[in-house]
């Protein structure tokens, strides 16, 4: 009905028809966004509300939305509880992951933009592909590599050396696993960010006699910052929620926060406590994400190709 009313009257000029169409675009956009909004409303928002509900339920009970207590949060913030330790481990590992990945990914992102030329597409695909192999399978491959009599140890012994180091089931290998798993999530935003640096600007600076370090610090880095930041945020947030690395490679030598949440839901059957923990993590991640996203112009990042 609304469409009929907005249809151009006979004899209207092409210009006014265009204006009418422009006015209609407003609602078309909102209507196109509707299916996604409904899906995420039911599938993303509603479960978070459910978690929120359980977080205030009586401990070790299932009476969601009927009782209200802060006991679960009190348990979490009780210093005699070790939850803060897992939280610290998760944050520390995530920070280290971000720092290491920034150093590993930057030259590759630079190469994809400036050096590899027509090879860029193929190299990008090679970096994307591991996302399509289950994380478990890839991490287990590392177990086969590092395990006693595994690929590394066996090869070194075969060469007559004393064998490989015993690195499995330590915090270090957990960090290694995280760096390995989240590389693409740092690399691609960084590549998009570096694509925003206009080459003429770099050339002009070089012609004017600027040194390479100067160009990097004053031009390349600031202009690529949105992409670098989004990559750092994405890897940090994903690494905070990581469990598979600590379980498969780390052999639970350290307990990460997601594993604590899982334990509360499975072994100890204390859904309200697990929910309270999930709420704390959600707020932490949500605040961080919204803050970083508020600084970004996605049109500019994704629109430039």
């Amino acid at each position: 009905m609304a469409d009929l009313a907005l249809a151009p009257a006979p004899g209207a000029t092409a210009e006014s028809a265009r204006q009418l169409r422009h006015a209609r675009m407003l609602s078309v956009g909102a209507r196109c966004a509707l299916p996604v909004a409904i899906l995420l409303g039911i599938g993303f928002l509603a479960p978070l509300v459910a978690i929120f509900g359980y977080a205030f339920a009586t401990p070790r009970s299932f009476d969601v939305f009927t009782s209200f207590t802060l006991a679960n949060f009190a348990t979490l913030f009780d210093p005699s509880n070790t939850v803060w330790l897992s939280f610290l481990w998760s944050c520390g590992l995530a920070l280290l992951t971000v720092a290491i990945l920034a150093v590993i990914a930057y030259p590759i992102a630079y190469g994809l933009n400036m050096v590899f030329g027509r090879w860029s597409a193929l190299i990008s695909v090679l970096f994307v592909f591991p996302l399509f192999v289950s994380e478990n399978v890839r991490l287990y491959g590392w177990v086969l590599f590092f395990i006693k009599n595994g690929v590394l140890d066996g090869t070194l012994k075969w060469l007559g050396l004393s064998g490989g180091p015993e690195v499995l089931y330590t915090p270090g290998i957990t960090l290694f696993g995280m760096v390995y798993t989240y590389l693409p999530f740092m690399l691609f935003p960084m590549t998009l960010g570096l694509a925003l640096v206009p080459r003429d600007l770099v050339d002009a600076a070089r012609d004017l006699g600027a040194g390479r370090l100067f160009i990097w610090r004053e031009i390349e880095l600031p202009l690529a910052m949105p992409g670098i930041l989004i990559g750092m945020l994405l890897t940090f947030v994903l690494a905070i929620g990581a469990t598979a690395e600590a379980k498969i490679l780390g052999g639970q030598s350290i307990i990460v926060i997601s594993h604590d949440i899982e334990i509360a839901f499975t072994y100890s059957q204390n859904w309200p406590l697990g929910s309270a923990l999930a709420v704390v993590v959600t707020f932490f991640i949500g605040a961080l994400t919204l803050f970083a996203l508020s600084k970004l112009d996605l049109d500019r990042m994704l629109g430039r190709r």
Partner: protein, 264 residues
């Protein structure tokens, strides 16, 4: 010149990282050809019997079928929703677009194990029994935003004046969508489909909590890794990887053809 040396260093570093990325996948493939039940390297006797056993297993056959069913349904639903989502993301100016662009990223940034648990809780709260069908829904929550971004990149490269011209020539909105918009977006939609299928195929954390009694390939592999290792683990893992690679290769070729056709 220093410039050339830097470029060589960048090439060398990239190739080194790529080798490291594929090393564990290669280790898995190697382990699957080991005749002995327990892994030891160098492998003494190579055999294909674990591949044979994996292919013959009825249990694994069912798990593969479940994984494919979930991935196919996720692909179809996600791409339809995400195509419209991408148009709203990149093509149309509307109130609330900036906010929408950011909110849609939240599920991608959310840790999947926590998201999976939250959904299990949500299903439980409204009394829905989890099965492979709930897993389809769960996968979509994470995959639709990703696919929306993939398609949105194509939408950004699209010239709105082509649609305008069609309107001026008297086409209806549905005609314009079918004859102009959709064909121009096909390459992006196609990549979106590949992403949706492959991400659902490899997803573990969401499946773990939302498939109920049904099981997918990543779940089965994990269960056997934790307890009861058999060389069928690397064999099935390698098969799943090869399947994904073949699909990506075939899909990539079709994508190149589509892009070429869209360009002419």
């Amino acid at each position: 010149m220093g410039h050339r040396r830097t470029n060589a260093a960048i090439w060398a570093w990239t190739l080194f990282v790529l080798v490291a990325i594929y090393l564990p996948i290669l280790c898995g493939a190697l382990a699957s050809f080991n005749k002995s039940r327990y892994f030891g390297f160098p492998i003494k006797i190579y055999a294909t019997e674990w591949w044979q056993k994996t292919l013959d297993s009825i249990e694994i056959g069912m798990i593969v079928k479940t994984s494919i069913t979930i991935a196919l349904l996720v692909t179809v639903f996600s791409v339809v929703i995400a195509t419209f989502g991408a148009l709203a993301f990149a093509r149309y100016e509307w109130k609330g677009r900036k906010l929408y662009q950011k909110l849609i990223l939240l599920p991608i940034f959310f840790p999947q194990p926590v998201l999976g648990l939250a959904m299990l809780l949500g299903f439980n709260a409204v009394g829905i029994q989890t099965s492979w069908m709930t897993a389809v829904f769960a996968h979509m929550i994470w995959i639709v935003p990703v696919v929306t971004l993939v398609i949105a990149i194509q939408v950004y490269g699209f010239d709105p004046s082509l649609e305008e011209a069609a309107y001026d020539l008297g086409c209806s909105r549905i005609q314009v969508f079918r004859e102009v918009t959709l064909p121009l977006l096909w390459p992006g939609i196609w990549s979106g489909m590949l992403f949706a299928f492959l991400l659902s195929w490899s997803n573990f954390p969401l499946s773990l909590y939302t498939t109920g009694a049904d099981s997918t390939i990543p779940e089965w592999l994990y269960a056997k890794m934790v307890a009861g290792y058999t060389p069928m683990v690397p064999a099935l893992g390698t098969m799943a990887t090869l399947g994904a690679a073949c699909l990506l290769l075939a899909g990539g070729l079709v994508g190149i053809l589509l892009r070429r056709r869209a360009a002419t």
